[in-house]
């Protein structure tokens, strides 16, 4: 049975004739050997990038936000752009872990663990930006969280920025718990293999003493299903709420009803691209090719192409509505988007997101590792520019021509944005070293030998 041409029932999800014990041996291997030079090089690079970003952020706190590119009227710059980018990246993890679970897509088992990890680290990275963009992050608790304080004032519950605090906070908490619940049986596997005493103690605590009892599995599976059911509307709400940050304002180009679905589609699109980027590297470095097969990657590429077309449709629809609305301001903003001072950002976005993924119409292309890796990088770049285009092209030329100004990110902006990538990769690289990157108990459940009857 060829894994890519087989019909749905005959789908082989794990290739190479592996048995249950092989799954443990293969998945646990990177956890039980000393990191390779490749890993150290990647980790060192990530650490250096984060160090640079953190140093620049510290300098920014000392000198003030004036060191950034933001000005009047561009009050939102690279920090908001990058916040939306990272929150969006996270969405693919939840889509894979929750929505594909509800749709009984068994192929998700090979990729859900690393995709969920990506979600958590992406949301952590995203959360840095609302904190540091205040310029005085130690006051953030005051401004963001409703708790009784000396000023006797409360937060403004009518503000989308506050909805964001609750949406992203809930999203992080629930994603973390969902991920941890999934990890418990696998941590128990690592515990039972551990030879070193300290290692055994740590994994025993993390596994909560899981023993694989069926009376436990019974509650466990219901909990997993419920969390999948709760995460599904949650993930749709999160990027909808992020889009409200823009859509609830009255600025042309932001004030549109298409934003919530458009943002959610874009989030899934960019997140899948990031999953492909990470998995292509991971399966190569850790030799997981029998678990994350070409068939898995092909399916992800199909989703990338489908969501890419949704995003492309949204771009077209925005232009249509700008024309059809008859609003002079709306039309002006959109003409400026495509042909104004930021035309290069707009066309980078449009080409990377709407056109380049079309190459996946050809099976040869969507099953080619090199092609999909390059496309996934283009999509990541394109989606960063999408948020740049949305944020900046609406702000830099608003209703009053006398207040127009260009936004040019300073090297503080670029340095801190680069630092956020370092932060993300530090976590991801540590994750693949200390926790099983493939959901072993779930993979075993979908193997050929596991159908009891």
């Amino acid at each position: 049975m060829g894994s890519t041409t087989a019909s749905y029932q005959q789908d082989v999800l794990v290739t190479g004739g592996k048995n249950y014990a092989d799954v443990n041996n293969d998945v646990a291997k990177p956890l039980e050997s000393f990191p390779t030079t490749k890993w150290w090089v990647c980790f060192g690079t990530a650490l250096a990038a984060f160090g640079m970003g953190a140093t620049l952020a510290a300098l920014m706190f000392m000198r003030g936000l004036g060191v950034l590119g933001i000005n009047q009227p561009n009050g939102w710059g690279s920090f908001i752009v990058t916040f939306v980018f990272w929150v969006g990246i996270g969405h693919a993890g939840t889509l894979i872990s929750a929505i594909l679970f509800l749709f009984r897509q068994k192929w998700r088992t090979a990729i859900n663990r690393s995709a969920e990890a990506m979600t958590i680290f992406a949301v952590m990275t995203a959360l840095l930006f609302p904190l540091i963009h205040t310029g005085r992050p130690w006051y953030a608790a005051f401004w963001l969280i409703p708790y009784p304080n000396q000023r006797q004032l409360w937060v403004n519950f009518r503000s989308p920025l506050l909805w964001d605090v609750f949406a992203v906070g809930t999203y992080f908490t629930i994603s973390l718990l969902f991920w941890y619940i999934g990890l418990i049986p696998d941590i128990a596997s690592i515990r039972d293999r551990a030879k070193n005493r300290i290692r055994k103690v740590i994994y025993t605590i993390l596994s909560m003493g899981w023993r694989g009892s069926n009376r436990h599995w019974s509650h466990y599976e219901v909990a997993y299903l419920l969390l999948a059911g709760l995460s599904t509307p949650l993930v749709l709400s999160v990027h909808s709420v992020v889009s409200f940050d823009f859509a609830v304002s009255n600025l042309p180009g932001w004030h549109t009803t298409i934003f919530p679905p458009y943002f959610v589609a874009g989030a899934i699109f960019s997140g899948f691209a990031m999953v492909v980027t990470l998995l292509v590297i991971m399966r190569e470095v850790f030799n997981m090719k029998n678990y994350v097969t070409i068939a898995h990657l092909e399916r992800m590429n199909k989703i990338i192409m489908a969501t890419g077309m949704m995003v492309g449709y949204a771009y077209a629809c925005e232009f249509f509505i700008a024309w059809y609305s008859g609003s002079a301001f709306e039309r002006f903003v959109f003409i400026q988007r495509a042909f104004g001072p930021y035309w290069w950002a707009y066309w980078t976005m449009a080409i990377c997101n709407a056109f380049i993924p079309q190459i996946f119409w050809w099976k040869k292309m969507r099953t080619n590792i090199a092609v999909m890796f390059v496309v996934s990088l283009f999509v990541n770049i394109g989606m960063w520019f999408e948020r740049f285009v949305i944020t900046i092209t609406s702000l830099n030329q608003d209703f009053l021509p006398s207040s127009w100004a260009l936004y040019v990110p300073s090297w503080f902006d670029w340095g801190i944005v680069t630092g956020s990538f370092g932060f993300f990769f530090i976590w991801f690289l540590l994750f693949v070293r200390v926790l099983p990157a493939i959901a072993m108990s779930e993979v075993k459940g979908v193997m050929e030998t596991s159908h009891g009857h």
Binding site: N19, Y20, A21, N24, P146, Q152, L153, W154, V155, N156, F157, R158, P160, L162, W163, F166, A167, G169, T170, I174, L177, F178, I181, P185, A188, S189, R191, D192, R193, T204, I205, M208, G209, W210, R211, G212, S213, N214, R215, H216, W217, S218, H219, Y220, E221, V222, A223, L226, L230, P233, L234, S237, V241, M440, S441, K444, T449, S450, G452, H453
Partner: protein, 177 residues
Amino acid sequence: MATEARNLSGVVGFFSGPGAILKAMEKVKATGFEKFDAFTPFPVHGMDDAMGIKRSVLPYITLVGAITGLTIGFSLEYWTSAVDWPLNVGGKPFNSWPAFVPVMFELTILLAGLSTVFGMFALNRLPNLKDAAFDPGITRDRFAIWIGVPCDLQQAESLLNSLGATDVRKVYQEGWF
């Protein structure tokens, strides 16, 4: 016995795979033992029926969490915005409930999720401190049926043997550390 000091937990037998353990479990249940369980590397489908386990009550715990979250969300927003310090924001009513919906929704999901996770821990008595794994292979590729005391040990052992179990032996309760 030399093992007098140790706390006998029961008898286990190992089966070759999900199909075998499922068939064996039906017999074990039919024999009428008071305490029995299956230990498997992944959830074996059909095992709940074979063991006669009813559907988990967890969804009700989740529902209570969800309703609590919704109530807390609205109460917090209403009280802070309309009672404790009513503040006119853009001429909107103090109780501008449509604007409160996103936070109500998020808190509903948050408390529902937290109660699901901690409810599952409570129902399963996790973290489990006192019962260490009796075989390190279970989280890898071994499928075990355990018949717990009080029971006729000889009957349990011979039943497991007759069902084709291998490595049938007594197991003892031990802590992890």
